[in-house]
């Protein structure tokens, strides 16, 4: 059961990472990046490193994601 979950998690990580780099729309790439960060936090928790998982979720997915979304909004407003 846990092996299946780990495999699924690894596949989802690779998929979201790949899609994040290859998708052609910036907003989708940012959302995929946040999803990747959350999956990464889960992976750290599965690797028995909850400290890194917490930091990854808070900084990697949360703060960086918000910064990227804000930057995207500023870019769009400047263009308009």
């Amino acid at each position: 059961m846990s092996i299946a979950f780990d495999l699924l998690l690894a596949l989802a990580l690779l998929w979201s990472g790949g899609r994040c780099l290859s998708v052609d729309r910036l907003d989708r790439a940012i959302v995929l990046f946040i999803a990747f960060g959350l999956l990464m936090a889960l992976a750290w928790a599965r690797l028995a490193a909850p400290d890194i998982g917490l930091a990854e979720a808070a900084i990697g997915a949360g703060l960086t994601g918000a910064l990227l979304l804000d930057a995207y909004g500023a870019l769009k407003r400047r263009k308009a």
Binding site: P50, D51, G53, L54, A55, A58, I59, G62, L63, A66, L67, D70, G73, A74, R77, R78
Partner: protein, 218 residues
């Protein structure tokens, strides 16, 4: 000709990289036993916190210094402020942010306190605090910072200064950051409390200083 040389260089570099990968790794250092044996004198019960704040406190001291330096550089560069229209914010979002922010602060304090005996600690607590500030800013409840006031400057540097003061104070005991086991827990909590506030402000500052707009009042 130029392209050929460059291709050759790239090939050589790739070969070097592959060679470095194939080289047998040095026998990995296993420090788990060393950490477990010294937990009693660390002043905390969670091994990760013991390593970060006690056994390798030097690394953490430099980390907060680097973060502070990054923020100072942002302030020094001076962002080119483009005029933005004030954003229109959904009142439901604002209400939700008002409810969430105090809870987030409670979570941050819990994480700081929990760091002594379970996963948590100053960095996570600081990040959560910063998230609260970002949330309030994005919902239009917290204006972005134009020029840091005196209080803000002290808040940004407090964590680093407290850490440095403790390190300097302990220098007379022989070694940098060599806490006496009896006071280690109290000193670590003091340092972590300062770190949490400063990290929260620094991480929030990365956001709130970068997004400053001419229209905002500081």
């Amino acid at each position: 000709m130029k392209r050929f040389v460059m291709g050759l260089g790239a090939l050589a570099f790739a070969a070097l990289l592959i060679g470095a990968l194939l080289e047998p790794l040095p026998v990995s250092v296993d420090l788990r036993a060393a950490v477990t044996n010294n937990m009693a004198s660390s002043g905390v019960e969670h091994p990760v916190t013991a390593v970060l704040l006690n056994f390798r406190g030097y690394d953490t001291l430099l980390e907060i210094a680097v973060l502070l330096l990054a923020l100072i550089v942002i302030l020094a560069v001076g962002i080119d402020t483009a005029s933005d229209q004030p954003r229109t914010v959904n009142p439901i979002l604002q209400t939700l942010a008002r409810v969430a922010a105090p809870l987030v602060i409670v979570v941050a304090v819990y994480l700081l306190w929990a760091g002594a005996f379970r996963p948590g600690g100053a960095f996570q607590a600081g990040a959560v605090l910063a998230a609260a500030a970002v949330l309030l800013h994005l919902t239009g409840l917290l204006p972005s910072w134009q020029v840091p006031t005196r209080t803000l400057r002290w808040g940004l540097t407090a964590g680093f200064l407290i850490f440095l003061a403790v390190a300097a104070g302990l220098l007379s005991q022989g070694a940098l950051l060599h806490y006496p086991p009896a006071q280690a827990g109290m000193l670590i909590l003091l340092i972590e409390a300062g770190l949490t506030i400063s990290l929260g402000l620094i991480l929030a500052g990365l956001f709130l200083l970068l997004s400053r707009e001419p229209g905002d009042d500081a």
